[in-house]
């Protein structure tokens, strides 16, 4: 498998198209014959990251990078950024609006779910600038 990279735009508040980036990423991985348990982990983590961009940011992108050793998903937004990452990482903590909670989002499980589903997980955020979440699943021979 050679190095491959795909980028998908994610718009703020677009709940109709929300999930399309994750869907495209999942389809790409399945077409490459990646193990279905790994595809599920990536799909869950990517969906959470994508929904975070839709719900909390002014918009951004999700990027998929595949090489023989790993699958990496980077979710990058253009702001506003997370004031307190430690708090945001706590299961159950959420800053989602009432409207969004009524839709079944905002359970405060997004970031913890992403961390659980991936082998490497980092959040970098500068308040006023934006957030970058990097998630990686390592591949073994046969995956």
């Amino acid at each position: 498998m050679e190095f491959m990279k795909y980028t998908f735009d994610v718009e703020k508040d677009d709940f109709v198209r929300a999930g399309e980036a994750s869907s495209n990423i999942k389809r790409t991985l399945r077409e490459l014959g990646i193990d279905s348990a790994i595809v599920r982990r990536i799909a869950i983590a990517t969906y959470e990251a994508e929904m975070n961009i839709v719900i909390h940011s002014v918009g951004g992108q999700v990027e998929l990078e595949i090489d023989p050793n790993s699958i990496k998903v980077t979710a990058r937004d253009r702001g506003p950024g997370i004031p307190n990452i430690e708090l945001a990482m706590q299961e159950g903590y959420s800053t989602a609006s009432e409207k969004v909670r009524e839709m079944g989002f905002g359970a405060g499980m997004g970031l913890p779910n992403m961390k659980k589903c991936t082998d490497r997980f980092t959040v970098e955020s500068v308040y006023g600038e934006g957030t970058t979440i990097t998630m990686e699943i390592l591949l073994k021979a046969g995956d």
Partner: protein
Amino acid sequence: MKLRDICEKLNLKVAAGGNGLENDITGVYICDLLSWVMSHAQKGDAWITVMTHSNVIAVASLLELGCIIVPEGIEIDEDTIVKADEENIPVLSCSLSAYQLATAFNEMGIGK
């Protein structure tokens, strides 16, 4: 069990995604918090939820769930129906409550 047979037994109305009636239903999951569903529901599950906005289709499609069942006659958003047809996710509606559906599935031996 085939979804088509479940629909007949429980008198479920097909609101969208009729192409998926041959799906094999292997479990049941009931929850309305999408992140919770995302991390706990399994491929082939019938997902019972009162959420009817179009993002439920994204969740069901990503997890390859067998169908979505909307209980208690709750109205389903038009764009959810359109998206369900696009993604081939069966969406069924009925007058039963989530609890009544769960007991009916249990009697059929699904989700044990």
